[in-house]
C-alpha cells in the first residue's frame, strides 16, 4: 500500500509557479465558440410575420402580431432551444454566440416594422400570472 503525499505536492508546486487557470472575467473574455448558444437575434426587415416562430416556441417567449407588425421576445423566458431559428423561412432569426447581457429588470424586446431601432419595454412587476 503506497501512502504518498508526493503527487499533490508536485501538483501544488507546479500550479503555484504557473499562471492561473482562471480568467479575470470582465476584463478578459474568452471568444465564444461558433456553436455557442448565446442569444436570439432578430432582423425585422425580412420578417413577414408568419407567426411560425411564436407557435413553435416551447416557452412562448416570442409574441408576434400580424396586424400591428410587431415581433417581441422575452429573453428571460427563452431557453435557447433554437427551434425558431430552424423553422424561420425568411432567415431573419439567428443565434448569436455572444451571451445575452445581464438584465436589470424583466424586459421584453419588441420590434416594429416602421421603426428600425428596437424599443425596450420594461414590464410592470405584477405581470406574472
Amino acid at each position: 500500500m503506497s501512502w504518498s503525499v508526493g503527487p499533490i505536492s508536485a501538483l501544488v508546486t507546479r500550479s503555484a509557479l504557473a499562471k492561473p487557470a482562471t480568467r479575470l472575467y470582465p476584463v478578459e473574455r474568452r471568444t465564444p465558440y461558433a456553436r455557442t448558444r448565446g442569444h436570439i437575434e432578430f432582423r425585422i426587415d425580412d420578417c413577414n410575420f408568419c407567426t411560425i416562430c411564436a407557435h413553435k416556441c416551447p416557452t412562448l417567449a416570442i409574441q408576434v402580431h400580424k396586424q400591428d407588425k410587431t415581433w417581441a421576445i422575452d429573453h428571460s423566458r427563452c431557453i435557447l432551444c433554437g427551434i425558431c431559428v430552424e423553422d424561420c423561412r425568411e432567415g431573419c432569426i439567428t443565434l448569436s454566440p455572444l451571451p445575452c447581457p445581464p438584465m436589470r429588470a424583466k424586459e421584453v424586446l419588441s420590434f416594429r416594422q416602421e421603426h428600425e431601432a428596437p424599443t425596450v419595454k420594461v414590464a410592470a412587476p405584477a405581470i406574472e400570472r
Binding site: L60, I62, Q63, A72, D74, I127, E128
Partner: protein, 136 residues
C-alpha cells in the same frame, strides 16, 4: 433491448407470492411506481436478473381505502418505494418494515395524487393558456 419485456397483470393476492418467487430466483427489485387512473390505482413493479426485466401491474380499486401487502420483508429495497406510494397516493402497506408515517416525502398538500383524475384533452398547448403572454 427494453422493448419486448411485457407487463403482466396480477391480482392483489398474487402480489406477495410473485415477489417471493422472484426473491428465491435471485432477482433484484428495480422499481415500483404508481399511477392514479380515473377509477383505480395502478401499481407497477419490475424485477431484474441478468439484464432482463419482468414487469407486473396490479390494479387497486379506489373505493375501500387501497391496501397492498408490503414487500419490504422480502425485498428490503421496497421500503422507500412503499413509503413514497403511501405519501403520494394514500395507499396503506400492512407489514411495512420501515414506516416513516407519511414524513418521507414532504408535500404541501397531503396525498397529492389521491384526488380526482381529470382526463386530458388533446389540444395544442394546454399549458400555454395558463401562462401569461410575454407582452400584455
Amino acid at each position: 433491448m427494453s422493448l419486448g419485456e411485457p407487463f403482466n397483470e396480477l391480482t392483489p393476492d398474487q402480489w406477495v407470492p410473485t415477489a417471493e418467487q422472484h426473491q428465491r430466483d435471485g432477482f433484484r427489485l428495480v422499481q415500483m411506481t404508481g399511477t392514479a387512473r380515473a377509477d383505480h390505482f395502478e401499481i407497477l413493479i419490475s424485477y431484474e436478473q441478468d439484464y432482463r426485466c419482468t414487469h407486473y401491474r396490479v390494479q387497486l380499486p379506489r373505493d375501500p381505502l387501497p391496501e397492498l401487502p408490503s414487500l419490504s420483508a422480502i425485498f428490503p429495497a421496497a421500503f422507500t418505494y412503499e413509503n413514497e406510494l403511501k405519501d403520494l397516493f394514500g395507499l396503506s402497506f400492512p407489514g411495512l418494515t420501515v414506516d416513516y408515517g407519511g414524513n418521507f416525502l414532504r408535500t404541501k398538500t397531503k396525498l397529492p395524487f389521491s384526488g380526482e383524475v381529470t382526463i386530458k384533452k388533446e389540444s395544442a398547448k394546454p399549458a400555454a393558456k395558463s401562462k401569461s403572454a410575454p407582452e400584455s
